[in-house]
């Protein structure tokens, strides 16, 4: 079920400053994610806008590491639409950011499943790279595609620790705490993940 959005979107006519003032509603601004979810469940739909604003940068960056440039925004939209539809059943057993990360991984996996079903090549470096040259050189984009392909080939725990450190900019002690591991084990896993990535890149 999709939640009703007003036919005339108030955000589309606002300047960036007005928009930011609107989205950082002082009442909601200081609320935790869990409180915002409660507000949303109570019918204050603008709470979702704040959740979106808060989590978009990290979600977008994570998706950018694993999905071809052309599809990053599309996949990101699907993640937030899925979040919007699933929030009513969010029970708060885990933190919202953890829940959203899991949702992101599911949506990325779904993207690759659909792509495989359509029998498109997994990631074609030249075609994807040649379509986006604004702001980045095609060489960088081609390198990015090779790295994405190598990342996708890694075991899930290796891929996850690389994404947590690079895409989400989490410190090793934060990753250790989140994954219930000690710091040494976390750093060791990271080294093995980078070694596996190097091996894939050398293939």
């Amino acid at each position: 079920m999709l939640y009703s959005i007003k036919a005339t979107d108030p955000f589309s006519t606002l300047s960036t400053t007005q928009y930011m003032e609107n989205i950082t509603n002082p009442i909601l601004q200081d609320s935790t994610d869990e409180l915002l979810i409660q507000h949303f469940k109570d019918g204050r739909k603008e709470a979702f806008d704040l959740l979106y604003y808060r989590h978009l940068p990290k979600v977008y960056k994570r998706v950018r590491y694993v999905v071809p440039e052309n599809d990053v925004e599309d996949v990101t939209q699907e993640i937030f639409i899925a979040a919007l539809n699933s929030i009513p059943s969010f029970r708060g057993d885990a933190k919202f950011s953890t829940w959203l990360r899991t949702l992101t991984n599911h949506k990325v996996a779904e993207f690759y499943r659909k792509r495989t079903r359509k029998q498109e090549p997994p990631i074609s470096p030249l075609s994807d790279a040649s379509m986006h040259t604004i702001g980045s050189t095609s060489k960088t984009l081609e390198e990015r595609v090779y790295l994405q392909r190598a990342l996708q080939s890694l075991p899930e725990n290796y891929k996850e620790i690389i994404l947590l450190r690079f895409a989400e900019d989490m410190q090793f002690n934060e990753i250790a705490e989140m994954t219930n591991q000690n710091l040494e084990a976390t750093k060791s896993l990271f080294r093995r993940a980078i070694a596996a990535l190097r091996t894939h890149l050398e293939k």
Binding site: M20, Y53, F190, R191, I194, A196, L197, L201
Partner: protein
Amino acid sequence: MDQTNEQPNPQQDDQLADFVDQVIKGRMKISASNPTDDLSSLEETVLRLNSSFPQDPLDEASIKQMHVRLKSRIRREEQSVKPSFWKKWFGVEITPQLGLAFAALAVVVVVLVSSPSFTTSGSTITGTASTPVNLFVAAGLAGVFFVLYWFTRRK
């Protein structure tokens, strides 16, 4: 996979972790180890990873534009969703729970209709003769319920 990398090496773990911290902060642009070391190739991989993906955060204007596009898409998808048969005719959306309740009701109907006590004449001849017919009716009813449920459930 390179099996040597599976060996525990706490010193290398720490060195690589420190190197990554420096790279992400933008304080390290080249490998810090001797090129012949195994660690050097890992550092090169870290540098490749860091330089290939933009580290600068999304600016506010981009966030706004993406938000507007998301809302447009939600609106488009909402308009394209066809109301289900149940919603259209009875004003009720069939949830999985309601679907299950209908299925349970169908089973109850089948049991009632096919039970011998359903025929009230008391005649064994009538009962014996009507049971197969009742079974056909019950199976038909269950089939209709199933087909209705199948075609009207939410995709």
